[in-house]
Symmetry: C2
Subunit: 332 residues, 2 copies
Amino acid sequence: MKILILGGGGMIGQKLIRHLVQNPNLSGEKISEVTLVDAFIEPAIPQGAPFPIHSQVVDITDAHTCQSLVSTKPEIIFHLAAIVSGEAESDFDKGYRVNLDGTRDLFESIRALSGYCPRLVYTSTAAVYGGPYPEDVDDDFILQPTTSYGIQKAIGELLLNDYSRRGFLDGVGLRLPTICVRPGKPNAAASGVFSNIIREPLVGIETTLAVSKDVSMVFASPRSAVGFLVHAAQLDTAQLGTRRSMMMPGVHATIGDEIEALRRVAGEKVVSYIKEVPIHSFAQQMVDAWNFPAFPATRARSLGFTCESSFDELIHLHIESEFDGKIPGQTL
Amino acid sequence: MKILILGGGGMIGQKLIRHLVQNPNLSGEKISEVTLVDAFIEPAIPQGAPFPIHSQVVDITDAHTCQSLVSTKPEIIFHLAAIVSGEAESDFDKGYRVNLDGTRDLFESIRALSGYCPRLVYTSTAAVYGGPYPEDVDDDFILQPTTSYGIQKAIGELLLNDYSRRGFLDGVGLRLPTICVRPGKPNAAASGVFSNIIREPLVGIETTLAVSKDVSMVFASPRSAVGFLVHAAQLDTAQLGTRRSMMMPGVHATIGDEIEALRRVAGEKVVSYIKEVPIHSFAQQMVDAWNFPAFPATRARSLGFTCESSFDELIHLHIESEFDGKIPGQTL
């Protein structure tokens, strides 16, 4: 079984390949080969894989590139590549070129190969939603994104439905919660703030909070994100009908809730590294565009997608995976 | 005030220009000039207009064409041009080229002109919806189209939202019910059957019915369709927020209901021209993809969009406008 991971150099792509190296079977079939591609960085190849891993820097907005990537007919494609929310908002053309045209190039390259219908796992986002919200935001709630990133991802979902219905590919779209705690450096995602205020204090680095503490979000750990992807790759898609995308489960919390969880898990000293500064209007506008309600994600849960049950758990997971259970910021 | 009508050669485009000739003001401003363009046919120019009317055959999938069309900065653009449902289903590439790329070309051409933000009235369709439906299908119900046409129109709605939010244009999207009774010849719209079974019998021509009588639809007259467009052109869009499209009001009826209305309005002899034939699988698949519930269209109604209240009224309107109140099929 050949696998192609677009966006394989990103945080989730890297966690995914490390998971596959440890668990080299999908749907009971052995993985024979994985290709990791990324527009920004040559994806790192983890050690000790029981299958060959190829790594390349490519530009999916070049149609020939997509044709070449799918020419070996990988059975599973994870399409994680995207221009993130903040950058798609500040660079209108780039967002559409990568998030819309790039996705379409990929789908068209697949369609051009006759007798080929790969499982395509597409990472959408909770940002396909936009308020005002009713009390219950169920799986039938309309997608009216209020960022260009959300619009581009919602369009990708529609294309995924149509190409799946037509039999060109076998799509599963995952509306990901904000991944938290996101390890590594901040990226251009406007949602970065939700991780920054946990990750940096935990290592004793001051971090500024320039948005309102009332903003609410839906979160899942990096581990859950990988779990969603792997589950989607193996899902019986006959259960999905023509609706290929769904909101993934997540933990609902405001920034204020996050800080309280951090206080419970890591103590006052760690929390003191968060410095509230005057509200930054662009950042606030981006997070206001979401300000998500608690999505019950009934459909995803009933299909076996699972996540954490509290924000405290998300912080504990980060402490375990990044610092082996010790909190550097407590002892500085 | 300059107006541009894309799809000006179509049935609705022609009804719209005739309406504007009779009512040459919008939002209290005099119309100074109208340009009608169409990909298929040079749009007919009605007599006696108090303003100049230009008519051209153009291809909106050519980016230069769109740039040239908007170069005079028309204040109002009606974008009615589309590959209809049946053709978009049978010709995948053509549907995407015109309905998606053509719309994007138009929006991009507008965006390229600085200081320009025209009112753009976009005709979407009830086909952006797809079942399964809950009991109440309100304005918050998700768009999950089950035809390529519906997917393309839903994508156009998302683009309309984003380009409006960004201030590139001032969009209003109208999810049109099936226009009925549609005068003239059948077109490639799969929804043609809903008009055919009324229009042809009224003039004493046999028509075949190759889909199930249980299929239900939402209908509005051509007169209402023009009313929607003209109202949208003059609407205070501050009321719309970031959600620029909405379901228009319509009359809910099954094909069986249509036939009963025809019997009431025109009598048994006229109904006898409908010949039930074995179900045609492609046609049935298309109408099954809709099989619409009664959309309350609460938002549109509250914004002043109005339509007929019964299917009988739709037939009466057709008889008045096409035959001056007499029914040819009754006296053959």
